[in-house]
Symmetry: C2
Subunit: 222 residues, 2 copies
DNA sequence: TCAAAAGTGTTAAGACTACACCCATGT
DNA sequence: ACATGGGTGTAGTCTTAACACTTTTGA
């Protein structure tokens, strides 16, 4: 089967920068390519937009295929449309970024996943296509948005302690925070609440557990 | 001549929301369609991305074709990729927005421009495709960005008065500002300078003229 | 001399920053 | 009892918001 047009058409893909925070590092999921071009290099998960599929739906599908996780934060990032970015044919890529919780993530077996691995964004391997630019842009957007919204909470699992949130923010921004000020700020946003339960973890005082309030998506601050 | 692929390919266009401020209204340039679909409705300027043309370059070209203006602010906005947005074939549109100065704009003769006109964003006519959504998104981004950057100055002509800048900000945001506070804020940003000249306009005290400092692009504040 | 827009400082309130000690637990 | 991370308040500084009169010009 083949498809014919009067004018040349580009191919359109989505690529997804999937962030998580683990071992005090901001990491992104990459897949090692098994065939040319860029054989052996690492690339962002992604794929072609089907002709009867919304671009957003394509990104959701790719995300589910790679991570097996549904209902996580996903946002369109930017569209990369330089002519030579794929040596095979003209490919325009609509990039997205996603945030998956620190804990509770299992990479899905099958498909490309055998070659999938998390990489610290501070020590990226050789990347295919313009994927280094895409990750750089995603990281910029992530750090900017974490300063004026509650986006960072999308990294948290169902229940979490205030210290966990703080250490997450410190990891992503690279800046240490004052404990008292951080807690005042976070609680004043009024988007999390105590669960009532405590988390015991070692030879020290247990920490209160919190969860997102029902109504909370990402809240823009100020 | 025709072009054949193994898999179906969408068409890709750019559409541009060109904003200006005129008569104390935020306006956008629209073109009345002369043929189906949506014949008679108004649409954003735009067109197909050529196979050997960067997506950004396509937006620049469309902008120049419509307005005859070069070197004005242009930023990628969002990519609209719902399946049914164009009834003819699958079309994915990479939307941009541009800011042209209040004064000194002449619509270019020729091409589609015979049917081009500025419309207040508060009183839009019937729009083709999903262009109402695109304009809504552009407006959101514009107002958000004007609060934390000097983007608004991109609306100003070469030389301008402080009162002109203030009234521009008031028009876009719909909020009145205190004159003294506004001037303090704007001058503290350190991105404009006096030209030395004055602007006389009627039976009142002349105003100092200002210009952007050499180095100034859009400055993110805070 | 009147009308119309330009220009100019001070004060009060609120937001942000810096900073140190006691608490609850496991070993 | 000690080591470990959890939890809490206050004072000083800086930023933001509110507010009204004088100046310069053309008619």
């Amino acid at each position: 089967m083949s498809y014919t047009y009067d004018y040349p058409h580009p191919a359109v893909t989505t690529d997804i920068v999937i962030f998580t925070v683990d071992e005090a590092m901001l990491k992104t999921l990459l897949i090692q390519r098994g065939s040319p071009p860029f054989e052996g290099s690492w690339a962002l998960p992604g794929g072609f937009v089907r002709i009867d599929e919304d671009v957003d739906a394509c990104a959701k599908r790719e995300l589910a295929e790679e991570t097996g996780v549904r209902d996580i934060y996903l946002e369109q990032l930017y569209t990369f449309g330089a002519v030579g970015r794929d040596p095979r044919e003209r490919v325009i890529s609509v990039a997205y970024f996603a945030l998956v919780p620190c804990r509770g993530l299992s990479l899905k077996a099958g498909t490309d996943a055998a070659n999938a691995a998390w990489h610290s964004v501070n020590a990226l391997p050789e990347l295919a296509f313009d994927h280094r630019d895409i990750i750089a842009k995603a990281r910029e957007r992530l750090t900017a948005k974490m300063e004026y919204s509650t986006l960072g909470l999308m990294f948290m699992p169902e229940e979490f302690t205030l210290s966990e949130v703080q250490s997450l923010y410190e990891t992503v921004s690279g800046q240490e925070q004052d404990k008292r000020n951080f807690r005042k700020w976070l609680l004043a946003l009024d988007v999390i609440e105590e669960t009532g339960a405590m988390k015991t973890a070692g030879a020290h005082r247990p920490a209160k557990l919190y969860r997102l309030k029902d109504t909370t998506g990402v809240v823009i601050i100020r």
